[in-house]
Assembly symmetry: C2
Homo-oligomer: 158 residues x 2
């Protein structure tokens, strides 16, 4: 492999099959891993670039996960924490699908409600559901507000 | 850049200046980030490969941090959580130093003692110090044992 500028730019190499989450807001990569429930102990093959130079953004994060696709709930939360993110599905090193990522009206599951007294924390078979506001989320059961910068700390990775 | 097997093997590209921590035990990359106090919010440029194929190990993790070197305390903790790790210092894309990583006899700082009543948790100007055992660490002040698989949860990243 020649040691060209192009090589240096490509911080994280191609994957064979899986999902590429690109143009993440800088500093969001570890939150995305938490969103996906990945801490490395499960053996998932993952490549991450944090604060890498970007044409579109000044710097960005990028996460490539082999043999994994995102659920709609995961995409919804991603859209809230990093609206500029793009999701590409890769098969045999080729991008076969570019997923649009739109800010959803609501997010179901994935996040836990921070209100301990909320019905969703009461061992009942009730999935969390949050309305998406301009700058955060509102629990549709108890009205608790989760600020946008707090979302990552309420990922329900139990 | 040609799309050769070599490219595909190189999961995380070269860095210009900084530290490459290679041959990490699979699953340890995020613990190493925590050890270095890196969560992405500080703007550090970091590349990570988790569970990538390795010649030396079956799979490994790798962490490349630009414009950053490790303190001796950080190297000591790294030696305990991932004894096979190698540390290379890079300048202008070239490895200028390969650091040996030996299991230390003791680890100072970096880790907090899990015993709340330990003098090191009492707002006194006392740095933590642990003796390194075969399968964990022992606080030299209060005798508290930290098992090897618990070390990452006691990183003092306050």
């Amino acid at each position: 492999m020649t040691d060209t500028d192009a090589d240096r730019e490509l911080r994280v190499s191609k994957i064979r099959n899986g999902t590429v989450i690109d143009h993440l807001a800088a500093g969001q990569a570890l939150n995305v891993l938490a969103l996906l429930g990945i801490d490395g102990s499960g053996g998932e093959s993952v490549s991450i670039g944090m604060n890498v130079p970007s044409d579109k953004l000044a710097t960005k994060d990028i996460v490539k996960v082999e043999d994994r696709e995102l659920s709609q709930s995961e995409v919804d939360v991603l859209a809230v924490i990093s609206p500029e993110a793009t999701i590409n599905i890769v098969r045999e090193y080729e991008v076969i699908e570019k997923k649009r990522i739109d800010r959803p009206e609501a997010v179901s599951g994935v996040l836990a409600c921070p209100n301990r007294n909320c019905i969703t924390n009461a061992d009942e078979p009730v999935e969390t559901r949050f309305a998406v506001l301009d700058d955060g989320l509102r629990c549709e059961y108890c009205g608790e507000i989760v600020r946008e910068d707090e979302i990552a700390t309420h990922l329900d990775v139990a």
